[in-house]
């Protein structure tokens, strides 16, 4: 019975549909030219969307969503400021991005799984990786598959001739920041002695080493270098040692705001009245939540820009980000990680190709107005003298300070030349 019914259904579906006789139609006006169809290409990201570091990972994800929407729609930055049509072109074909984000949890093992999926299942030829340890674990897979990779990290092992298709997107570089900020500290803050406190990680020690060298070269005496375990919360012991030495400045060259906020709070609780300076971009709301405006009075940080913004792309990004996620979610340090989708896309257009080798060659040759930076004009592709290739963006640098319950810009420093 079932077999008969099934056969009947199949025959019924195969039967031609009855047609009605066509009627002559009136002439119509010529059709409007249709919008050119763009090919969607995936841009994969090995993000950090859960766990203790998810706050940074989610911020980066939000940035990427905004950039991809902007490029695809030819919106405020890509369209109005940079003068591009919606999408981007290579070999005459119009393309648009599709953001595919997976949670690598900032863990190398998870990262390998995620990147493998992005390459082999989603066929991504462009991938962004959150943090060096995830990139380094999947480095050979990315290079073998000729994936144009951007890395949010500052390890020297992530860039260089053995990473021919990899570009660094984080603008806080351990080798570059000290060359910019140490002289500024010397010239503007009158610091003679400094004590450094940093997390005990490869990057923490590297930042300390480079800053220590720069301070010493400038005649600033480094009284102490204290290291603590990542995610530590009680800094009373190292701070007690440091404060006993009475430094002009306590400097944290490489630590997230979750730790810096507590360092500031506990330093002030122990009666320290000198300068407190953070060597990476801040998450201001976290700092304020942990330390309070009073403790943060006179606190300096870098690679962050606060309103009023001098450049239109900064204002646009601030408006867009706060419209989507609220003013409370905003931090001037977001600019530090926001350049790469635009420069990647500009590099594809310059290369007129989607091939990783062509795009990499084009990207490292981009100069002047060919490059984009939220930090302002004058950025260039550098790193040759440090890493062996020009795969990092050397931007303008900024110093900001918290005073009277708000964060203000106190210095805008041109990119250091010759890197």
């Amino acid at each position: 019975m079932i077999a008969i019914l099934s056969v009947g259904l199949i025959l019924a579906s195969c039967a031609p549909e009855p047609t009605t006789p066509t009627q002559p139609t009136a002439p119509t006006t010529p059709a409007e030219p249709t919008e050119e169809e763009a090919i969607i290409i995936p841009w994969g990201t090995a993000s950090c969307l859960s766990g203790p570091y998810a706050a940074w990972g989610m911020e980066e994800h939000y940035i990427q969503e905004i950039q991809v929407d902007d490029i695809n729609s030819g919106g405020g930055c890509w369209g109005d400021i940079l003068g591009h049509e919606p999408g981007f072109r290579a070999n005459g074909q119009l393309y648009k991005w599709e953001l595919i984000a997976y949670d690598a949890k900032m863990d190398p093992v998870e990262g390998n799984k995620v990147i493998s999926r992005l390459i082999y299942e989603d066929k991504c030829k462009f991938i962004h990786v959150f943090m060096d340890q995830v990139y380094l674990a999947a480095k050979s897979m990315l290079i073998e598959n000729k994936v144009l990779t951007t890395v949010q990290g500052d390890s020297p092992d992530s860039v260089g001739p053995d990473s021919p298709y990899t570009f660094r997107t984080l603008l806080s570089n351990p080798e570059i920041n000290p060359r910019v900020y140490a002289p500024w500290i010397k010239d503007n803050l009158g610091v003679q002695t400094v004590a450094m406190i940093s997390e005990d990680s490869e990057m923490g020690r590297l930042h300390c080493e480079h800053y220590g060298d720069q301070f010493s070269d400038l005649g600033i005496q480094v009284l102490a270098e204290e290291f603590y375990e990542t995610l530590a919360t009680d800094f009373s012991a190292p701070l007690a040692k440091i404060i006993a030495l009475n430094p002009d400045m306590i400097f944290s060259p490489h630590a997230p705001s979750e730790e810096v906020g507590l360092i500031v709070k506990q330093a002030r609780e122990l009666g320290y009245e000198g300068i407190l300076f953070e060597g990476v971009c801040p998450a201001t709301k976290t700092l304020v939540d942990l330390a309070g405006w009073d403790a943060l009075e006179g606190f300096y940080s870098v690679n962050a820009v606060s309103p009023p913004f001098p450049y239109p792309q900064q204002q646009w990004f601030y408006d867009e980000y706060t419209a989507r996620h609220g003013v409370d979610a905003w931090s001037g340090g977001l600019f530090d990680r926001a350049d790469d989708p635009y420069n990647l896309t500009l590099a594809i257009e310059k290369a007129n190709s989607l091939d990783a080798e062509d795009v990499a060659a084009a990207w490292e040759s981009m100069t002047g107005d060919e490059l984009f930076s939220f930090f302002g004009p004058g950025a260039y592709m550098g790193g040759q003298t440090i890493y062996g290739n020009n795969h990092i963006l050397v931007p303008r640098h900024w110093v900001s300070m918290i005073t009277e319950g708000k964060e203000i810009n106190v210095a805008e420093i041109p990119p250091p030349p010759g890197l």
Binding site: A54, M58, E229, T233, A237, A240, E258, E269, L270, L290
Partner: protein
């Protein structure tokens, strides 16, 4: 000498807080013979309760502190009656339940409370300086509150009828039952008090440090070390061990380096277990 005194003060302050963190774990093990792997997550819940009551709503801190303890106390009753009572006596089931509860609460925390680290303003701002030794008013108040609660618990356990019942159940539940002690009621009370102490610890930690769903992991690990070093189920042992842990952490941080402090704590635990397996005040 000044640095030594500073280290001593820091170590004792933190030792008092660690003792408060560990006593809840000690109590529940002593009475219910249950290892509560979710102890750190209850501390986390106490911290978030303080964040919302004191930090967001603006309730006076002491009131929010008491309310936090009360909420966690009630939660303890509910968990014992609903989940632990049916598996009482089954150590493995209790182990698995509390482990699962720990993971559940932490991940629920990420979902409900969000990803961003939070903080609360200091309810007791100010600096205290005696000679060259400096500390914050907040840390001193924290130590005083912790000592007060520890004293209260000691009074209950060693001077009250309820405490006699706790000790009777800890020694021999069957004999205690034959003497008319209501085991279910005592178990519920011990878990409720344990969670209230965890909540109190969380409330104090929230004002000193930061608040995030994974904040309970390190305190829980420390609490386990303290309970083992002090002697399983021994309240005086846990107090002594907690002060030792605080002092080791402080002095190693000052004289060797902060990155070595946890290693030193675990080395101390290893040595105690190696030479005195029952712990400092445990019975052989």
């Amino acid at each position: 000498m000044a640095l030594f005194t500073q280290g001593l003060v820091n170590g004792l302050e933190m030792g008092c807080l660690y003792a408060l963190m560990a006593l809840g774990l000690c109590l529940i093990f002593g009475v219910m013979k249950t290892v509560n792997f979710a102890h750190g997550e209850f501390l986390m819940l106490g911290a978030y309760a303080t964040y919302y009551l004191f930090g967001q709503i603006g309730m006076p801190y002491i009131l929010s502190f008491i309310l936090t303890m009360a909420l966690l106390f009630a939660l303890g009753f509910g968990i014992e009656k609903g989940f632990l009572r049916p598996i009482r006596g089954n150590t493995v089931a209790g182990f698995i339940f509390t482990l699962g509860l720990s993971m559940f609460l932490m991940n629920l925390g990420w979902l409900v409370f969000g990803l961003v680290t939070k903080g609360v303003p200091s309810p007791f701002p100010g600096l205290l300086q005696v000679g060259t030794v400096r500390t914050s008013v907040e840390r001193v108040v924290t130590a005083v509150i912790a000592l007060g609660l520890i004293g209260g618990l000691m009074y209950i356990v060693y001077r009250s009828k309820l405490g006699r019942a706790f000790r009777a159940v800890a020694q021999d539940p069957e004999a205690a039952q034959l003497q008319g002690v209501n085991i279910s009621h005592i178990s519920s009370l011990s878990l409720a008090i344990s969670l209230a102490l965890a909540g109190a610890s969380g409330s104090l930690v929230a004002c000193l440090f930061n608040i995030l769903p994974s904040m309970g992991v390190r305190p829980c690990a420390l609490a386990f070390v303290i309970v083992v070093v002090g002697g399983l189920g021994s309240i005086p042992g846990a107090i002594i061990a907690a002060l030792l842990v605080g002092l080791v952490e402080s002095f190693v941080s000052i004289y060797v380096g902060t990155i070595w402090s946890w290693g030193a704590i675990f080395l101390m635990a290893f040595l105690v277990i190696a030479f005195r397996p029952q712990g400092l005040r445990g019975r052989a």
